[in-house]
């Protein structure tokens, strides 16, 4: 329970930083998605089962706090945690390029999944034009913040593990 509360506080802190501080450096309203980076990092560190759960809860928190389409972030972050968790056994977790490369892949996958959902919801738009506005800045921001967020997630994980002993 104590570990869960610590993780919850960490996720809340990430969301608050994302919602309150990142808009200051946003480009056309697009900025980094810390919770997506967290879901991927957590999946890599703790495996598929907990990765899905963390992605689900982080996404749900984002949906509830932001007032966006309910369930969208829940679904995409859950998938991110699931895929990262499924791959976690096949990668060397200490490498620095892992969070950096995975952040770009996750951002692109997340973007296309959300775009498909928007199209299914009946919103019509030009995907290429939209990608230029949204996806490119998002990739740049994710690249910049992927390593710090991954490092922080690992530190919190170690802290929680030490406290649990």
């Amino acid at each position: 329970m104590k570990a869960f509360l610590k993780w919850a506080l960490f996720v809340l802190l990430l969301y608050v930083l994302q919602a309150s501080l990142l808009p200051l450096i946003a480009f056309h309203g697009a900025s980094a998605d810390f919770l997506l980076l967290f879901a991927v990092s957590f999946g890599f560190i703790r495996g598929m089962r907990l990765g899905v759960l963390a992605g689900f809860l982080a996404g749900l928190l984002q949906d509830l706090l932001s007032g966006t389409f309910l369930g969208m972030n829940t679904l995409t972050k859950m998938l991110a945690g699931f895929i990262a968790g499924a791959l976690s056994d096949h990668v060397f977790k200490e490498q620095m390029f892992l969070p950096v490369v995975s952040s770009v892949i996750a951002a692109v996958a997340n973007y296309f999944l959300l775009a498909v959902l928007m199209l299914l919801l009946g919103y019509r738009f030009n995907l290429l034009e939209n990608a230029e506005y949204i996806l490119l800045p998002l990739i740049v921001y994710q690249l910049v913040f992927s390593y710090p967020v991954h490092k922080l997630t690992r530190q919190v994980n170690e802290w929680v593990a030490q406290e649990g002993k």
Partner: protein, 331 residues
């Protein structure tokens, strides 16, 4: 063998459970988008807890921005001063013309017995403490809620124009859906007197910085540069709030209608302070006054001095008249 079978069984049931959750969340998205599913209690509880944190972090952010902008302003103050002086001169000329038009308007209204249509708003000032980074929806969180009289469906503005409307209000926060959000729709019309074409402004998922005005007939009188204001239809937004300027026009896919892309009046990238319209009513006509000029920047200092003297003399006369009236009443 038995252990292996049990492990396989666990794996299978876990996969089914996961699939069930995925499908459920997928369905929730569609039900929620159609308004058939909501989680108001959960959303309000979580937002109420997060609002103080958002307020604190956004305060840090605003202080950072304040410091950096101050340094920039100091570096560019001389050039800015020159530009502002030029602008003041131009605005004074425009102001004189506007006063003429206002006087003419007042005379014509009196002549026609026309009902005063200008609105007066009761505003609650609020600070933006959070912004959704998701590019598909455009929401902000402000630091005023039901405790300050903010309720759902109230219009939110800045001094430049319309920002959006409140979709959820908690005790210490409110979520505002911006006019850039694809779910938002605002009844609008072209401000130009010869046109007055009506349409609906909605967020464009393809271009998150520019909303579009749809449902405009192909032969409608609308041009680039036209100012678009709220029409007041629907009752949510008061009439006359500036929404944006027509940036370009394009044909609808079906070919029967036109779409106008708008440059919003509000700079949504630098949205820090907003005001919620908690009440609006018809305003009484205001008497015309000469605007006070900043000392040292007067266009014509001699004329300004004369005007001030005349005003002071007018004030003394009015005081004398009041005293006479009072004396008459007491007699």
């Amino acid at each position: 063998m038995g252990t292996r079978l049990r492990r396989d069984g666990h794996k299978k049931s876990r996969t089914w459970a996961l699939l069930f959750v995925f499908v459920s969340v997928f369905c929730i998205i569609f039900f929620a988008a159609q308004g058939r599913f909501q989680a108001p209690v959960l959303a309000k509880s979580v937002s109420t807890v997060a609002a103080p944190f958002e307020k604190a972090i956004s305060w840090v952010g605003s202080q950072l921005r304040y410091v950096t902008s101050n340094i920039w302003e100091i570096a560019t103050v001389h050039e800015q001063n020159k530009m502002l002086r030029n602008e003041v001169d131009q605005l004074r000329i425009q102001n004189l013309q506007a006063s003429e038009y206002a006087a003419e308007n007042a005379r014509l209204r009196a002549l026609l017995g026309y009902k005063q249509a200008a609105m007066q708003f009761d505003l609650v000032a609020a600070r933006v403490i959070g912004r959704e980074a998701d590019s598909w929806s455009h929401m902000i969180v402000i630091d005023r809620g039901t405790a300050d009289g903010v309720k759902e469906n109230m219009a939110v503005v800045t001094e430049k124009g319309l920002v959006g409307h409140v979709i959820e209000a908690g005790p210490n926060y409110a979520k505002v859906q911006l006019i850039l959000d694809p779910r938002s729709s605002v009844g609008t019309l072209v401000q130009r007197a010869e046109s007055r074409v009506v349409g609906i402004v909605e967020g464009d998922p393809a271009n998150p910085t520019m909303p579009r005005m749809i449902n405009v007939p192909k032969n409608a009188d609308i041009e680039e540069g036209d100012i678009i204001v709220t029409s007041g239809f629907g009752g949510m937004y008061p009439k006359g709030l500036v929404v944006g300027i027509v940036s370009s026009l394009e044909n609808d896919e079906a070919g029967l209608l036109k779409i106008a892309l708008l440059e919003p009046a509000v700079d949504f990238q630098k949205l820090e302070d907003v005001a919620v319209i908690v009440n609006s009513r018809e305003a009484p006509p205001e008497p015309l006054k000469t605007p006070v000029q900043t000392p040292g920047t007067e266009t014509d200092p001699a004329a300004e001095k004369k005007a001030q003297e005349a005003q002071a003399a007018g004030g003394e006369e009015a005081v004398q008249q009041d005293a006479q009236v009072q004396a008459g009443e007491s007699d």
